[in-house]
């Protein structure tokens, strides 16, 4: 008896509502059509419409930008990319040019892989250690706050600043064993070691953040369950907490690797941006002590802005770099999608 009365009064209120005259009413999703009468649907205000349009526009614009980057690099890269060049060393044409403009780009690819591996290997233990301390110990609290802001400052420092700072530190004579040294004992402060150490500073904040988040998402009762079995804190961290946060650690590491692979400033200043020039005689050490280049510095040097002015090589190398970084991001996605909280209710 009361039901028709209430529907009528609702329609009454709807009708009395002030609405701009000629606005079309929003379309309902198909499954909801017919549930409301046409006049019961309240049209949106102008402001909401503008907001929605702006949101659509921004989203589509970003998609378009990303798509055009990939497409452009794909076209240009495939145009100049030859499989043979992937496995060829660059050739130095003149002594004034530090990077070869003839030949392939095997050296930069090797350099990217070496530097990324080295930087990640240095960053991993430091990052995980910092995250474990912050999350599981973190006392005294003023020290924890200091460590946190330290990590944030490192994360916020531009890489060119890190590079200049690294040059300042590692040209000191004491660090000569790490880098390319001249006959007279002058320390150049350029090597894979030094670039890798400074590169690790880019990855550390990312690893710390991801690991810490993973550790903090482990419920307290899981830790207590381990204590209740008579385990101490150290073995709890080692046997339960770190295995449980493996996915977080992997995500942070892959993000860090992408950032290392994409950085140019540190390579140009601390790696020399030369072809692989080993230093000394010890098999692997000589490469790490020597200078080299990565795809980023190769692109820079061969671009119209650089010394080489060989844009076709720059495009091809940039394409290879883009593929490497996209692959890394793909793996991040894969890992983080799998990593759901195992103890979620």
């Amino acid at each position: 008896m009361s039901t028709p009365a209430t529907t009528e009064s609702r329609a009454e209120t709807q009708r009395r509502r002030i609405r701009p005259p000629n606005l079309p009413r929003p379309r309902l999703p198909r499954r909801n059509r017919g549930l409301l009468k046409e006049e019961e649907i309240v049209p949106w205000s102008i402001g909401d419409r503008i907001g929605l349009a702006a949101a659509w526009f921004c989203g589509l614009l970003l998609c378009a930008i990303a798509g055009s980057i990939v497409l452009y690099m794909l076209v240009r890269g495939l145009q100049y990319l030859s499989v043979g060049a992937l496995f060829e060393h660059p050739v130095i044409l003149s002594t004034t040019q530090s990077t070869g403009t003839a030949g392939g780009y095997l050296d930069p690819i090797e350099g990217t892989l070496i530097l990324t591996t080295l930087g990640t290997l240095i960053a991993l233990p430091i990052g995980i250690g910092t995250a474990v301390w912050l999350s599981e110990y973190g006392r005294p609290s003023w020290l924890a706050r200091a460590v946190e802001s330290g990590v944030e400052i490192v994360a916020g420092t531009p890489t060119i600043v890190l590079a200049i700072f690294g040059l300042l530190v590692f040209t000191q004579g004491a660090f000569g064993f790490l880098s390319f040294t001249a006959e007279g004992g002058a320390v150049f402060g350029r090597s894979f070691f030094i670039a890798g150490i400074m590169m690790s500073l880019i990855a550390i904040p990312l690893i710390v953040g991801a690991t810490r988040e993973a550790l903090q998402s482990i419920p307290a009762h899981v830790r207590e369950a381990s204590y209740a079995l008579g385990k101490d804190k150290i073995s709890t961290i080692r046997r339960v907490l770190l295995p449980a946060s493996r996915k977080g650690i992997a995500t942070g590491t892959t993000l860090g690797m992408g950032r290392i692979a994409g950085d140019t400033a540190i390579v140009v200043i601390l790696l020399g941006a030369t072809p692989l020039e080993p230093q000394g005689d010890v098999p692997i050490l000589k490469v790490l002590q020597g200078t080299g280049s990565t795809l980023t510095s190769y692109v820079y040097n061969n671009s119209p802005a650089g010394e080489g002015n060989a844009p076709q090589k720059a495009y091809a190398a940039a394409f290879v770099l883009l593929i490497i970084v996209i692959l890394m991001n793909f793996f991040v996605d894969l890992i983080s999608r799998k990593g759901s909280d195992p103890w979620a209710r």
Partner: protein, 305 residues
């Protein structure tokens, strides 16, 4: 619009009152008249039929008090924990049941603001003088949320056994102990073919029994259960209650529960706590069937909580 209904009157609850301790009857065994009285009140089927063989006092709480940041959570509670009978701790939320339970294996030490007074004895030894690792091996604990570690079923049970000596025992050496623990927890039949599968793939009830197996593997004398069934379905709950019944002869069991029917089903002795006080302790039939204290009577009959 009709007039507002009068809200039901709020019951006044007695707060400061002497605890009511009902002494156990002489000799072992339940008193028949108490049992029939309880059965008249609660018609839940009992699982704890049968005579208890031996009753041994394992732990004693003497004037135990716990405070968080100076605010008392448990006030001067004295209780025995006996092997051969299950002790059920009941009471509304926030009344100190879990805190009491956690102080038995000194897990309250983990809370930085917690302070404790009184003494807890494990086999006539002050637990504060025991090595905390040793204490926790003898007093196992199972939590409300099933929390197996992110490793295989086998490794979960073996977790407590490893790193005992300086040498890590091999998998083959651990196998008998692991299987025995799983057998005692009634899980071996279900998992024996895939001991190496990840434990987090098991169902919730299986995970909880795995957690019990993990505790049993270390060989505890006392097992603390903190609302072990509140996250489980009735079938798993029933399995775990059966398990508690089968374990009570060999291990002293303390179970915290919100579920009065569950306490009635599994507990031989019941302690009712309210706002940190021990209100009544006694035989389960007595506490449920003929509670001595007013607060117990009101709580058991559903007056508050």
């Amino acid at each position: 619009m009709g007039p507002l209904k009068q809200p039901p009157p709020v019951r006044r609850i007695v707060v400061d009152d002497e605890p009511t301790i009902v002494q156990p009857p002489k000799g072992n065994g339940t008193t028949e008249e108490a049992k029939t009285g309880a059965a008249a009140l609660l018609s839940a089927p009992r699982k704890r039929e049968g005579k208890r063989a031996t009753i041994k006092e394992r732990m004693t709480l003497d004037e135990l008090g716990v405070a968080y940041a100076g605010k008392p959570a448990v006030k001067a509670v004295s209780l025995p924990v006996r092997q051969g009978e299950v002790l059920g701790l009941i009471g509304p939320s926030g009344c100190g049941k879990t805190t009491l339970l956690r102080s038995l294996n000194r897990l309250v030490d983990q809370t930085p603001t917690a302070s404790r007074s009184g003494t807890i004895y494990l086999d006539d030894q002050d637990v504060d003088l025991l090595d905390v690792t040793e204490l926790r091996r003898q007093v196992g604990m199972v939590f409300q949320q099933p929390n197996p570690f992110p490793m295989s079923v086998f490794d979960n049970v073996a977790y407590g056994l490893r790193e005992r000596g300086s040498r890590r025992p091999s998998r083959a050496a651990l196998r008998p102990a692991v299987e025995e623990a799983l057998e005692r927890a009634g899980l071996l039949e279900e998992v024996k073919d895939n001991l190496m599968h990840p434990a987090l793939r098991l169902s919730g009830g299986q995970q909880q029994r795995l957690c019990i197996a993990r505790s049993l593997a270390v060989g505890p004398e006392v097992l603390l259960l903190d609302e072990p069934c509140s996250a489980l379905d009735p079938r798993s709950t029933s399995l775990i209650e059966e398990l508690i019944m089968s374990l009570r002869e060999e291990i002293a069991i303390v179970i915290v529960t919100h579920n009065l029917q569950q306490a009635y089903r599994v507990a031989d002795r019941v302690a009712f706590m309210y706002l940190g006080d021990l209100v009544e302790y006694g035989d389960a039939d007595g506490v449920f069937g003929a509670p001595k204290a007013k607060r117990t009577r009101e709580y058991v009959s559903g007056g508050f909580g």
